[in-house]
Chain length 237, copies 2
Amino acid sequence: MGQAELAGTVAVVIDVLRATTTITHAIANGAECVIPLLTIEQAREQHAAHPTTLLGGERGGQRIDGFDLGNSPTEYAPAVVAGKQILFTTTNGTKAMQACRAAKTIYIASFVNLTALCNELAEHETIQIVCAGTEGEITREDVLLAGAIVDQLTADAQPIDRNDQAQIAADAWQEAKTELTATSLAQRLKSSRGGRNVLRIGLEGDIEIAATLDKFNVVPRLDPSSWQIRDHRTTPQ
Amino acid sequence: MGQAELAGTVAVVIDVLRATTTITHAIANGAECVIPLLTIEQAREQHAAHPTTLLGGERGGQRIDGFDLGNSPTEYAPAVVAGKQILFTTTNGTKAMQACRAAKTIYIASFVNLTALCNELAEHETIQIVCAGTEGEITREDVLLAGAIVDQLTADAQPIDRNDQAQIAADAWQEAKTELTATSLAQRLKSSRGGRNVLRIGLEGDIEIAATLDKFNVVPRLDPSSWQIRDHRTTPQ
């Protein structure tokens, strides 16, 4: 989807494994804000100017040299992140956020805050869901969450219009939903492209965390003007 | 998917509504070959050089001025097409075929020849499925057929590897398959983007035809050297 199509819209960015899941953990665990940046250099420059910030993110799935934190949700524990500003850069997730910069508002989506997010999204008339994918290709873990969002919004009182991509995602989620157990979603995520990448670097536990539905009641929102992600209750609409 | 990725592969082109469904009708009904062309001008030039050919295709869903046939499968009846070479140009389908020109071989897929096609595809180790979509965007009717192909190939003895896009399509098809009746597939196709376009021009019957599983036992194949679509039994591998 091009910038032009996103101008002025309500965008929802999905990178289930792991950027948006990790950001949601950071915000839920009390980080003051997360600042998503495209490049390692940008993150290092901002950190040099603001030494109290934490540096977080990954390249090739691994923590970046000299960074305080990688891209595992478990690293973003309350004791570490509470009250902190976090400069954050990942391979696909922060690119997807950057691609949404013309949007009116940008929500950060994950399974761990699905219901809280959907309650907030229900207030908006039109929503553009942006899946980060991997190397420019759509991935199953992101499509499953997109489908879960479409499904949950449809379950509400009013029927909603969806384009074909939203319908395909909802179709795919129905298949996951029919046998949804504590471990079945994690199993599906493990077999996805993002999941296989995370398994390859030995972080299976991160996938199980990412598959935990509604662990948190926060809705991280990226403000296009301040370029900071905060819980939606603490940022102006 | 870029040309480079398709070089040397076995490609399967899908444009359920309606190009690949219509081509399958033409071949099943005895056309000597179908020649897919990008532009109206190319079709007219070739027709001028070979006046015994038939001109077929659409723009905006409608038959093109001066053409013999539009893009409805019903127009390609045996009495009309038997023994004929058909010059064929459509908005999305023939573009998708052109995008596959670097492939080793190119199959034309539709629900009306699903089983015959899958029997043939089972002979190949690696397959790239290319959905024509609409204006560059993936559409549900094409994804459903892609999923049906993945599903049918998986049902065979050997398990197959699929990338995430193939898995998403298979997920989406599972949802359609659980309640697959004579009319339920047509209903799904009608609500797809391609379906809504066909309904808009008053050709609901074309969608019902496109949703008829295994009407034919032919496998149209586009030979990248001769650039002709013929039944696979009559073209060299």
